[in-house]
């Protein structure tokens, strides 16, 4: 009997309802965390932050589900919400408790929206809560250490309508089902899928958003425009290991490569590249420094050769066609080749 009860507790934890169950116990924590770390913006609505008690603003944000809201709070958003409200010493559970507190203040019910359609699981967890109430921390401990998006199980997903990002990823008719949801970009190391969340050292690692918030945005890669960040001196990466004053001698020479088909020609700027790199990084191993000596194709680049040694790994990815293919072809040159073909089709 005892083991069955504990099994129910575990199942309850699995379905994620224990998070909201736990949140009720943590009402005090939520308020305390809010006052310490969130009130600065959320009390007055600074920088677009939804105000405490403003039902309209909060219900708009709750529409995507409480799990999405948790995630935005933990990972931050490009709209100005810093990861964990800027207080990275907070645990995920504390941040979620603060979110629950703010949602409740606006008349929202984090529990009902947390697991839509998951009433059965919630009920079983609630039923099991009493015998184990002597040590509530244990119940909450397992799910609380997980990122919010991981809490719903596949079984719950099957029963529940879509709402949380994890469910949307599994829903076959979900919009943009293969893309990472915008709110989930640049997550902290513990939630990024390659770091081991069980590593005791993980919280010493810097969350990317803490750095990226101050930098110009881009549409791909790290979603940071590194060249602009360097140009505006928002970052000062050293050119020499030991000498902070050393400066590169940038080479201002554009190479135009005329390309086949209708794509605009490629303008290769030496300047932006020599700000970061030494000549010997590319010449002569990757590119022979001689006009016409280098066969470059998109196929090679996609496979990680030529420009693809960096672009598609660390420099902006190949999805940003126009950043390289930037010079419109001369009208006469393209018209001689393209017009007869277009007319022949008519």
């Amino acid at each position: 009997m005892r083991s069955r009860i504990t099994l129910y507790i575990t199942l309850g934890a699995l379905t994620g309802s224990a998070v909201s169950l736990h949140a009720q116990d943590r009402g005090g924590t939520g308020k305390a965390v809010y006052e310490k770390s969130c009130a600065l913006c959320h009390a007055a609505g600074i920088a677009g932050a939804p105000k405490l008690g403003d039902a309209g603003e909060w219900s708009a944000r709750l529409r995507a589900g409480i799990a999405t809201l948790y995630r935005s709070a933990v990972a931050g958003t490009p709209n100005g919400m810093p990861a964990k409200g800027g207080n990275l010493s907070l645990s995920g559970a504390e941040v979620r408790a603060a979110v629950d507190y703010m949602v409740r203040s606006a008349g929202g019910a984090p529990k009902s929206s947390a697991v839509p359609g998951g009433k059965r699981a919630t009920a079983s967890a609630r039923g099991a809560a009493k015998p184990a109430a002597g040590n509530p921390a244990q119940i909450g401990a397992a799910p609380a250490s997980k990122p919010a998006r991981e809490t719903p199980t596949p079984t719950v997903v099957a029963a529940a309508p879509s709402g949380t990002p994890a469910q949307a990823a599994i829903d076959p008719n979900a919009f943009n089902r293969l893309l990472a949801p915008p709110g989930g970009r640049n997550p902290p190391p513990a939630e990024d899928g390659i770091h081991d969340p069980g590593n005791p050292g993980i919280h010493a690692l810097q969350p990317p958003l803490e750095s990226f918030q101050r930098l110009p945005r881009a549409n791909a890669g790290n979603r940071v425009n590194w060249v602009a960040a360097l140009g505006k001196k928002q970052i000062q990466p050293r050119w020499d290991l030991g000498d902070p004053q050393a400066e590169p001698s940038a080479m201002d020479l554009n190479i135009v490569r005329e390309v086949k088909g209708s794509m605009p020609d490629v303008v290769y700027p030496h300047r932006q590249h020599t700000e970061w790199l030494d000549c010997s990084n590319c010449h002569p191993a990757i590119f022979v420094p001689q006009k016409g000596a280098n066969q470059i194709s998109m196929a090679a680049i996609l496979l990680g050769q030529k420009c693809g040694v960096c672009h598609g790994k660390v420099a902006f990815p190949v999805s940003e066609c126009r950043l390289c293919h930037s010079r419109k072809k001369d009208a006469p040159a393209s018209s001689t080749a393209a017009v007869p073909a277009a007319e022949a089709r008519k």
């Binding site: 899928g193 081991d196 750095s211 790290n222 990466p237 790199l277 990084n281």
Partner: protein, 142 residues
């Protein structure tokens, strides 16, 4: 076994199940930063976590040239045959990770922070993006 211990054991079991069933499904596309390199040449075999190198963090502080020219890092994930002996002798990562410029080698966990079993790769790289659709149905089945 005391009931309290048993409950704890079940909670731990539950956490393990969550981790096993959800991590591959929920995070079937890792959200790791573009350019994060996992280096797992010897780590798994040696029983430590694979090392994770965040390009973004380092490019905020150093130009590419410092590592890829001065320190001799090749443009190839896992292609540099780095080992701890070289690092404590001041080569590769050890040029900075010596307690003077960056944290020293005693802080094993800070570099060796990857999930065990993660192969050597550059995250979000074009190659990985191309491979993703092929992997997705298998991951979705879970």
């Amino acid at each position: 076994m005391r009931p309290g211990n048993r409950a704890r054991a079940y909670a731990a079991l539950g956490a393990a199940i969550v981790a096993l069933t959800l991590v591959p499904g929920g995070a079937r596309r890792a959200l790791a930063e573009y350019g994060d390199v996992v280096i797992n040449n010897y780590s798994d075999a040696a029983g430590v976590r694979p090392a994770v190198f965040p390009h973004w963090f380092h490019r905020v502080r150093f130009r590419c040239k410092v590592c890829h020219s001065d320190l001799g890092f090749k443009f190839k994930a896992g292609g540099n045959e780095i080992n701890m002996l070289k690092i404590i002798d001041g080569q590769f990562c050890g040029a900075c990770h010596n307690g003077n410029i960056a944290w020293s080698v005693e802080n094993c966990d800070l570099c060796h922070s990857g999930k065990p079993g993660t192969p050597t790769q550059v995250h979000e790289s074009t190659i990985q993006q191309l491979a993703a659709p092929a992997e997705t149905p298998a991951a979705a089945k879970k």
